[in-house]
């Protein structure tokens, strides 16, 4: 890894479905502004968020070992300024969580997603992330 990459904002995608991750990867395959990480194993992701700080963590909800909200709770615990987004086909669950006062998740994106909206959402969240006091 070179220095230039190090300075880019890190974004983590978590989904137990590799198909989803691959599709996302394709969306961003020539996108160089951010440093994307894709993890399909929810247990690995659960560990990763405790070791590394990401600007944004985007997680699926329903996964074999952890629910997306559980991982995002962990993210909040370790780096509260990390923006937490739920990417799910199960919109009701997400909307329940977003309305809770502790704001475990900042936003949710429904599957199937719209590429432009996704990108716009990421840009917005990066700004919010930057504006968060260190």
């Amino acid at each position: 890894m070179n220095d230039r990459k190090e300075t880019r904002f890190k974004i983590l995608f978590i989904d137990d479905e590799p198909h989803i991750l691959r599709a996302l990867e394709r969306e961003f395959y020539n996108q160089t502004a951010y440093n994307f990480t894709y993890v399909s194993d929810d247990r690995k992701a659960y560990n990763l968020v405790q070791k590394e700080e990401f600007a944004i963590v985007i997680s699926d909800y329903l996964m074999p070992y952890y629910k997306g909200t559980e991982i995002l709770a962990k993210v909040y615990e370790h780096s509260p300024r990390t923006r937490r987004i739920l990417l799910t086909g199960f919109a009701e669950v997400a909307s329940q969580h977003i309305s809770q006062p502790e704001q475990l998740i900042h936003q949710y994106i429904e599957k199937p997603w719209d590429k432009q909206k996704l990108l716009q959402c990421l840009d917005e969240e990066i700004i919010l992330y930057q504006s968060w006091p260190k």
Partner: protein, 818 residues
Amino acid sequence: MKKANSANPTTDQLEIERLRALEKATREELNQLKQSNLQAQQYLDIAGVAMVALDTNQKVVMINQEGCRMLGYPEEEILGTNWFENFLITEDIPAVKNLYHRLMTQQSPIVEYYENPIRTKTGTRLVEWHNSILLDLQKKPIGILSSGLDISERAMAQKALEQANKAEQHISSKYSATFDLAPIGIARVSPEGKFLESNPYWGIITGYSKEEILDLTFQDLTHPDDLEQDLEFVRQLLAGEIQSYTMEKRYFHKKGYIVWVKLIVSLQRKENRDPDFFISIITDITEKKRIEGELAYSEERLRTLLASSQDAIVTIDKDSQVVFWNDGATNIFGYTASEIIGKPLTKIIPKNFRGGHIKGVATVISTGKSRLAGVPLDLVGLRKDQTQVPVELSLSRWELRGQVYFSGIMRDISARKEAEAETKRLTHAIDQLHEIVFITDLKGEIIYSNSAFSKTPEILPKELFAQGAILSACNNYEDPIHQNICEALLQIGTWQGELPLHCHNGDYKYFEVTISLQESDNLESSTLVFVALEITMRRLEQARQIQSQKMESLGTLAGGVAHEINNPIGYVSSNLHSLTGYLKAFGELEDMRSELEEGVRLGENGALQALTKIDKKKKMINYDYIQRDIKLLLADMLDGVDRIKDIVNNLRDFSHVDTHKLEKMDVNLSLQKAVKVAWHSLKFKCAIKEEFSLVPLVECFPQEINQVFLNLIINAMHAIEEKGTITLKTSQIADKIQIQVIDDGVGIKATNIPRLFEPFFTTKPVGKGTGLGLSVSYKIIKDHHGTVEVTSEYGRGCSFTIVLPLKQHLKNPDQGKR
């Protein structure tokens, strides 16, 4: 008494003669006196004739023993009393007294003989009197001497005798038409009893002709029980003790039956007083005897009836005073006869009816007409304890010696009134029912039907009776339902099931029908009670309920399904965008291919330049990546589309309304399908363990059974809070299949187990289930003639066991049409 002879005075000679004569006369007179004294004594002592002497003052101066016996008083009580006043009957007294006075004053000659009645101590006797006047020396009457013979019996026999004498006259004039035509039987009988002659009417009564009777004696014809008395009478008649006799006796008719006759017999004597023949007169009194017997019987019966009747029998006079009151009346009204006889009837009439009663009695007495007589009336009576009692009154009015009486028979109809009210209540209730209720005889004739019946009279299953009386038509039915009904009625007296009714518009109506046989003494008069409830709506509702419950269970899976569908759609749609990008890049490369061709034509330099440009482009579009990725991308998309297709197919399979055809189904496959539908909700929570045996196909309605499996799997899933295992087991037990769904979840509290299959019973939080899953599952399995059982240990999971028969023997061929 002899009178003294007077002498004739003539000469001296004659004087001597006269003296001698006088002496002689005196002697003679003395002798005569002695003789007459003796005679008088004899007279007095002779029994059988009463002798009475009266003085001019009508007083008794002498009475003999027989006189005392006849009057019934001792001599001393009779002597000195006024004969006429004490012993004559009142009406006779003035006339006799007058006559006696004229007799004593010689104004009237003596009546030698007469009959008149006298009063004795024991009653009136008819006496035949012979009288002589007692004279003193101056020939002045000093009294009367009468001898009397009691002829009461003789007088009574007199009329008969007269008749007999008449008959005798008839007999003596043989050709008299009267003898032959007389409507009485007349016969001449020898002193020994032999019939000598008879008239035709005798023949009519006894059956014997003139000729036949000649060989017989009256003893032959007489009933043995009457013979003795008859013979006694005959003896008395022959002995001269009686002049005739009359008796009612029985003859044997020639044909053997008994004829009652009234018999009058008198005796005809010869010149020398020897018995000559009897004259016997008979009249047929059989009918009279019969009527007398019946009368006596009916009187006895009436008496018994009056006493023992449960009905009150009460008679009142014109003033409404009770004059008769039987035990039945006491039982009903509480008053004893002694308490109420002589009291007004109004005691047993409630106040508000008393006026009407009094008015009614008055009207009947004045007009002689009653609108109440002859018609039974329902009235209210008042008991002694002042409670009211409904009675039925039959009233009659009668008269006796100019007095009007009313007799009423009152029956306590409390029980009947109650029964009537009960019947009315029941009938009303039955008429309110939605259920059609009707009763027929065994031939299908309707005896009773309620109002619901009139809306659907075609519910009467005419085919049941098409063969005649239902119970004798068993084994003749083509339709298995009818056969089944008939057999059930014969064996257990009742049948219950569903009967479809084909409507004119081609639809079916469904009825749940119960038929029960009400057996009576003989099968002929037994009846069938039908109770039918239309369940068409219920059936439709049931089908709807099953369907809606299915949708509901699918609904609980909706989250999982949505997620499961949105995932592949998400990446397929994303990939399509990416693919578009890839194609655009390829398009640009394609464009460069013509530049390359141009460069090649220009020469080496040009080609190189173009290739460099292409390389640069390839780098820019990340050509290697695209080329590597494009196969994967397409594979991902196909995979995604397949998954969507799968999910949709599964759902469609489940949400389909059942085709309602019995099909052979593989239960193992069905369980796997159910798991697949629920998979999206199950997959991160429950491990599925399949312990399948190789089982035969089961005949069933597949959609319904799938639904049951899905319900049980969803239930098991909900019972598992975090992670757990659902075990699915199948096995064959004889001609049945056993399916078990076992989970290791929270289990079911023992108290809830009995309520598990109750509709709307749920322990799940609001929104997690309506509580219909298990009740619908239970219903489906029951319809398949299977069973569902549940065992559970709270906190340790639970196990549902379904047993299904391999084949469905549907009694109701229509069941599949639901």
